[in-house]
C-alpha cells in the first residue's frame, strides 16, 4: 500500500540512519568524539516504520540510543552531527550532545539519558494534543531494559486511564547493556504487559520494515481516532555494542556477523522491493550514494564548525531569572 515515493523515502531514511551510525562508529574509534555514544544500527526499521506515520504536530520521546529516531523524525543531520561533536552549530548548540539531541519544533522531545524517562513525557505530549484537539499523537520509544522501569509502567497505565493518543514502542534489541532481555523481562514478553495496562499489545519482527510500519499504522490510527494507547514490541538486535567501546563479550561469537548477513532491515527491504519490481537496484544504489554524501558533508562541516563560546556556559538555564 506504500507508494513508490514512500518506499524510497523509507529506504532513504533507513540508509541515512545506517550511514550516520556506521560513520560515527569509525569516527569514535579515531578518538574524535567526546562522551557516550550509543548507536542504532540494525534497528532502523523501528524508527522509520513508526515515524513515517507522523507529522510535525506529532511528538516522539526518544532514548539514549536516539540518533535513528531523530533522523526518522526529520532532524537535520548536520545539526545532529555538530551536536554530537559539541559544536555551537549543533541542534542544541553543543550543550546536549548525543544523549540529549532534541528539536521540539519538529516534535522531537529529546533523546534521554535516563532510561524510561520518556514515558511520562509522552503522556504529556499526548495530553496536549488531546486538549488542542489536533489529532496529534505521542510516541514513546523505549528499550527492553527500560521496560522494567516503573516510569514506563506508570506511563502506560496513565495513558490508558486518560485514554491518551499515545503509542509505546518497545525496542527489544535483546540486551540492556550486557544483560539479556530474556533474563530481565520476567514473563518473557513486553507486549504481554499491555493488557495489564488496558491496552492492546503486539509483537513484530523489527528487521522487517513492513511489519513495523503496519503495526504502527494500526496503533497510530487508533490513537488519532480516540481509541487510546497501544504497545508495540519490536524485536531485533543491535549491530554495535551498548555504547562505543563496549567489548561485547556477552554476545555469542559471530552473533553480529550473522545478524548482518541474515537479519538486516535494509537488505530485507531491498530484496523485497526489487523482487516485487517496485524499485530497481539502481534506484536504491543512488539513495545509498546520496546518503553517504549527506553524511560525509555533515561530518566535514561538523568538524570544521566552531565550538561554543565561553559565555554560552551561563545562558539557557531559565527563560527569565
Amino acid at each position: 500500500m506504500l507508494t513508490k515515493p514512500q518506499l524510497l523515502q523509507a529506504y532513504t531514511t533507513m540508509r541515512t540512519i545506517r550511514e550516520f551510525e556506521e560513520r560515527l562508529h569509525t569516527e569514535f574509534a579515531s578518538g574524535d568524539i567526546p562522551g557516550f555514544v550509543h548507536l542504532y544500527a540494525g534497528e532502523e526499521a523501528a524508527a522509520t516504520g513508526v515515524c513515517m506515520h507522523l507529522g510535525d504536530h506529532d511528538c516522539i520521546a526518544s532514548t539514549h540510543r536516539g540518533h535513528g529516531h531523530c533522523i526518522a523524525k526529520g532532524m537535520d543531520v548536520h545539526a545532529m552531527m555538530a551536536e554530537i561533536w559539541g559544536k555551537r552549530t549543533g541542534v542544541c548548540h553543543g550543550k546536549g550532545g548525543s544523549m540529549h539531541v532534541a528539536d521540539l519544533s519538529i516534535g522531537m522531545m529529546g533523546a534521554n539519558g535516563i532510561v524510561g524517562g520518556g514515558g511520562p513525557l509522552i503522556c504529556g505530549a499526548a495530553l496536549a494534543a488531546k486538549r488542542k484537539g489536533n489529532k496529534g499523537v505521542g510516541v514513546c520509544f523505549f528499550g527492553d531494559g527500560a521496560s522494567n522501569q516503573g516510569a514506563i509502567f506508570e506511563a502506560m497505565n496513565l495513558a490508558s486511564v486518560w485514554q491518551l493518543p499515545a503509542i509505546f514502542v518497545a525496542e527489544n534489541n535483546g540486551y540492556a547493556e550486557a544483560t539479556s532481555s530474556t533474563w530481565s523481562v520476567a514473563g518473557g514478553s513486553i507486549a504481554d504487559r499491555a493488557s495489564g495496562c488496558g491496552m492492546p499489545g503486539v509483537q513484530v519482527d523489527g528487521f522487517d520494515f513492513f511489519a513495523v510500519y503496519e503495526a504502527a499504522g494500526t496503533a497510530i490510527r487508533r490513537a488519532r481516532e480516540g481509541g487510546g494507547p497501544s504497545l508495540i514490541e519490536v524485536k531485533f538486535m543491535r549491530f554495535f555494542g551498548h555504547f562505543e567501546g563496549d567489548q561485547q563479550t556477552y554476545r555469542a561469537p559471530g552473533e553480529v556477523q550473522k545478524l548482518r548477513e541474515t537479519s538486516d532491515c535494509l537488505r530485507q527491504f531491498a530484496a523485497r522491493v526489487t523482487k516485487s519490481g517496485e524499485i530497481t537496484w539502481a534506484e536504491l544504489e543512488q539513495r545509498d550514494r546520496e546518503a553517504r554524501a549527506l553524511i560525509d558533508e555533515a561530518v566535514r562541516r561538523a568538524k570544521a564548525d566552531p565550538k561554543p563560546a565561553a559565555a554560552d556556559l551561563l545562558t539557557d538555564v531559565y527563560v527569565s531569572y
Partner: protein
Amino acid sequence: MARKITFRQAIHEALVQEMTRDPTVIVMGEDNAGGMGAPGEQDAWGGVLGVTKGLYHQFPGRVLDTPISEAAFIGAAIGAAACGLRPVAELMFIDFMGVCLDQILNQAAKFKYMFGGKAKTPVVIRTMIGAGLRAAAQHSQCLYSLFTHVPGLKVVIPSTPYDAKGLLIESIRDNDPVIFCEHKLLYGLEGDVPEESYIVPFGEASVVREGDDVTVVALARMVHFAQQAADALQRKGIHCEVIDPRTTSPLDEDTILESVEKTGRLVVVDESNPRCSMASDIAGLVAQRAFKALKAPIEQVTAPHTPAPFSDVLEDLYVPSPAKIEAAVTRVREYR
C-alpha cells in the same frame, strides 16, 4: 484590600482566575477532583485538603485526577508544558518527591539548557511542606532546599494569603518550571487578599518588619514565628528586621545583603533540617558578600538533624519555635 480570606482560598482563587484567563492552564493531581469512577459525588475531594474543590465542574475537562503514579503524571505535566500547555500539577506532599524526582531533576529542570535554549517548560508543581500536623517522618519534611540546589528550577514559598495568590499567579504565568510550596499549617491562615488578579514577582523579598538591630530571614511558617519573636524582642528594646525571601530560587540577595549591611547581625530561620539547607545557603551568602558589615556570628535556627517525630511533644520541639528564634537573636545581639 479589606477582604480577608484564607491561604487555602487564596490558592484556589489564583487557580480560578488563571484558568479563566488562559485556557491552556490545566490542573492535575491525585483526587484533585475526587470520585473518579466511583458511584457517589464527582469532585468529592478537591485534593486532600480541598484546595481545588469546585474547579472540576467550573472548568470541564481541565481538572484531571490521576492514578497514584507521581512519576507518570508529574512527568506528563512536564511533557505537556513542553508542548504548549501550562499545567499545575499537585504533588500531594513534598515528601513524595522521592518517587518522581527524576522528571523534575533531570527532565524539567534541564530541558532548556540541554536543548540549547530551545525549550520552554511552564509547569507548576504545587506541593505541601512542613511539620506540625503530627504526620510523622514521611509527611512533614520541608525539602525545598533540595529543589533549590537544582539549576533550572524556581522555588516559591509563600507565607501569607496575599503572597500565595500573587505568587501562584506569577508561577502559572512564568515560563520556567516552578516548585510551589504550601505549608500545611498555613492553609487556615487569614489575611487581606484583593479580589482582582495580581502578581507577586519572583526574586523580590518582602521586608515584613523593619528594624536596625538584627536581620532575621525566615521562610514559610517561620516568618510568623519570627514575627512573634520580634514582637517579644521589641518589648526588650531589640529591633529585628524580618525578611521573607518568598522565593528561594531566584533569591533576592540584595534585600538580605542590604539589611545585613545595616544591622550587622543575621539569624536565619528555616524549618528544614540544617545540613545543606536554605539556612546554610543564606548564611554562606552573607558570609561571602556582606562580611565587612558582620558584627556577630550568623545563627541558623532550624529543625535538628533528625527525621520528624510523630509524638506531639517531640514534634513541637522539632520545629523551630519563637522562643528559639528569640534566643538566637539575643545571642547575636549581645555578641561582642
